[in-house]
Symmetry: C2
Subunit: 329 residues, 2 copies
């Protein structure tokens, strides 16, 4: 009863920010993302009657705090759904910094969901996986799918219609690239979960943010369909700035930006002034992710390097969550 | 027909951002400010039948572009009101960097209004001065008064009820201090006037911003009355962040923040975590202005120095616009 799954983290082009149901993780708005082949989590889940509790190891380090609790809560949900009682040992590896706003929870809970359910001997459909992964971390619902995915917010109280669907597989737009410029590898002070709750409760702009999302979704779907990097990049950049603006105006204010964040933003705008199709997006952290096409990659990387960004993770549209090995004893 | 006037720049604690009438400079919301004795403009205006055009000199440099046009337009307004025809030579000195978001237009148009009207031999009341100064630059309406002033937005189409009043003179709160940390002395790329127009027209958050201002005005009036630095500082900081959020979300986005701005903001938050009553506010530029009390001044200055801010302009509540000399020929 052991299985290993890989998942790519995804970056939202139209952001998920704020829940209508905290427990079930149901969002106020739909969101669109692309998985990133450069950001990968590999997770092995092993259930056994001999285990007396759940255990979670991340990058070789045994975890005991908040992270271990969230993993165990997700395993409990899965045990309940599949009527099983065994405890589980989970071993995860990220090939990128955790908790620094690189969407590690999206790949983490996508991989955990598939690995653990597979280890229990089940083979659920992507929709089910997405619904279950969502309850571990909202953005994980989208990492089930490779390429471009949309998480439909749904309207049902129980969340049965709140899951991601694939818009286009990774083969649809192979020239699409994302460069994640690492501004800081420190753990962020305010976790996304707490941040979005604070925003929904206190930002005077939250309702206005929601009112603009449908239009951004429409533009983004069209931009991906037509492979229009300008429309995609501009829409995603403004969508991100709107989300950031709702954070900045919470009480107390949440500013994930650091000096390097501003530097990278200005560098991207400078590139655009020079005619290069480079656009940024940021999440609940200081890192700046640049969306662009393959043909502009070298120029953008060189510029960001010369601006002092030594660590840049390059991605193209990645895979969905994939089962790699499965051992049933 | 020559007169010289001094005026202090003011910094808004509750911001003015967006006009309901571009020509008359009528704002969408009321605002509250404090004049800063460290930021001073001295302006001499001389009218003569021998002059064949208006001339404007700033810090010893003859101006010909946009600035000269704005000065001349203001002189034309004043000539029309006072039924005079002579051209005017204007000489101004700022003791601080111009056009870098230090509210130089507030002191500029306040001093120009008083100097030029005085040079013409008139002696208008503060309310009239405020209404006229407002039409040169909105924030100048507040610089007519020393200490703390409120610019009442007014409701009349002609703007006759849109002027500033003094809330408290500078003697009311002598311990109050503002430290302007100079992040950059470069001229800003987007002028306030263009920036606020763009915001009103395109930010999806502009209406939500307006809806929160009345509450901020109330809190700020009370904080000044009670000399409550915590309430004043927090209200002003959040008000500023809300205004910044409306800018950030305009299309195209306006981000006046630079790397140093973020650094200063984080330093101020760090000071607060350590129990120091330091609060920031920013305007349409990268500079960070810290509101505090005299007793915390040294600690804050030392910290900001050690964070790399070498140029800090210290102010206490300053004077209103004052006539210094008047020569009638």
């Amino acid at each position: 009863m052991k299985a290993t799954a890989n998942a790519n983290a995804n970056i939202a082009l139209v952001k998920y920010w704020g829940k209508r149901n905290e427990k079930l993780i149901l969002p106020h708005n739909s969101s669109i993302s692309v998985t990133l082949d450069g950001l990968k989590t590999t997770t092995t889940a092993e259930f056994s009657k001999n285990f007396h509790k759940d255990e979670f190891t991340l990058n070789g380090e045994r975890k005991s705090g908040e992270e271990a609790k969230k993993v165990s809560a997700h395993l409990t949900l899965i045990r309940k759904m599949f009527r099983r009682k065994e405890f589980c040992r989970v071993e995860s590896q990220n090939n990128f910094p955790s908790s620094a706003g690189l969407a590690s929870s999206s790949s983490a809970f996508a991989a955990l969901t598939l690995a653990s359910i597979s280890a229990l001997g089940f083979n659920p459909k992507p929709k089910e996986l997405s619904i279950i992964a969502r309850q571990g971390s909202g953005s994980a619902s989208r990492s089930i799918f490779g390429g471009f995915a949309e998480w439909k917010k749904g309207v049902q109280v129980g969340g049965g219609d709140s899951y991601a669907v694939q818009l286009y597989p990774k083969e649809h737009w192979p020239e699409f690239r994302v460069l994640a410029c690492i501004v800081s590898e420190e753990e962020k002070k305010v976790k996304s979960r707490a941040g979005m709750k604070q925003t929904v409760e206190t930002s005077p702009f939250y309702r206005a943010w929601l009112a603009t999302v449908e239009e951004d979704l429409k533009k983004t779907r069209r931009a991906i369909k037509e492979k229009n990097i300008g429309l995609l990049g501009k829409t995603a950049e403004l969508n991100c700035l709107k989300m950031q603006a709702t954070m900045i105006t919470t009480a107390p204010s949440i500013v994930y930006w650091e000096e390097g964040t501003l530097k990278a933003m200005h560098a991207v705008w400078q590139l655009r002034e020079e005619g290069v199709n480079a656009f940024f997006t940021m999440d609940a952290g200081p890192q700046v992710k640049i969306t662009c096409l393959e043909k502009d990659l070298q120029k953008i990387k060189q510029r960001m390097n010369s601006e002092g960004f030594g660590k840049i993770i390059e991605s193209r549209p990645g895979d969905g969550t994939v089962l790699s090995t499965k051992h049933l004893f």
